[in-house]
């Protein structure tokens, strides 16, 4: 399946994400999920970025928390709400929120 996952938290949900498998996987970092794209804990980027997937982060949620695209890990693409709608309808058949 082509699965889009909204990742909305920083501390929980990785266990669920790690087990998911999909032919095509997109991970959209929203809400406090944006810290996965921006924060290094003792120098190390979030382990979820090691998953084989396309990564996106919502610009509005990034900016609200004091970050901008220059803080974002190179594996992650910054997107807007409009882009998210297109991803949902064009790139993924199923979408979940964790």
């Amino acid at each position: 399946m082509k699965l889009g996952v909204f990742m909305s938290d920083f501390k929980t949900g990785s266990d669920v994400l790690n087990r998911l498998s999909a032919e095509k996987l997109g991970i959209i970092l929203v809400g406090n999920g944006i810290y996965h794209a921006t924060v290094k804990d003792t120098g190390k980027a979030s382990s979820i970025l090691d998953k084989s997937a396309n990564f996106y982060v919502l610009a509005e949620d990034l900016e609200s928390r004091g970050f901008n695209s220059s803080n974002v890990d190179s594996r992650v693409k910054v997107v807007t709400y409009g882009d998210v709608v297109d991803l949902m309808f064009n790139d993924y058949e199923k979408v979940i929120w964790i």
Binding site: Y81, G82, V85
Partner: protein, 120 residues
């Protein structure tokens, strides 16, 4: 153009998840899609009439009214969830419907995409 059904169970203020759901609806409608919006549990607060807009709180009433006006957006609150919180029919914001949970299930039947935003 497609149909998106959003189920939202998060609380009004304190979690920005409801703001996310409303902004996503706005973006989808702007691109010509239609949106069914279901609120259950604490998210039924979104359907409450007379919320006063403070800058410390997200105030979504205006955006919702604009969305209703497009004709491509319908929103329904879980009736029992609302009653349990002391919101009667007369407390419901204009444009909102109240139904039981089967409304949401029925909406998913014809939806191209379903996004359930589950909990705080």
């Amino acid at each position: 153009m497609g149909k998106l059904t959003i189920g939202c169970f998060s609380s009004l203020v304190g979690s920005l998840s409801l703001d996310f759901a409303v902004k996503l609806s706005e973006a989808a409608v702007k691109k010509g899609h239609s949106v069914d919006f279901w609120v259950s549990s604490n998210a039924t607060m979104l359907s409450k009439k007379g919320q006063r807009a403070f800058k410390d709180y997200s105030a979504l009433a205006k955006t919702l009214q604009e969305l209703f006006a497009t004709g491509k957006f319908q929103a329904t609150a879980c009736e029992a969830c609302a009653e349990a919180r002391g919101y009667g029919k007369e407390d419901t914001m204009e444009g909102w419907k109240r139904h039981s949970m089967d409304w949401y299930l029925a909406s998913t039947f014809s939806a191209d995409r379903v996004l359930l935003i589950g909990g705080d």
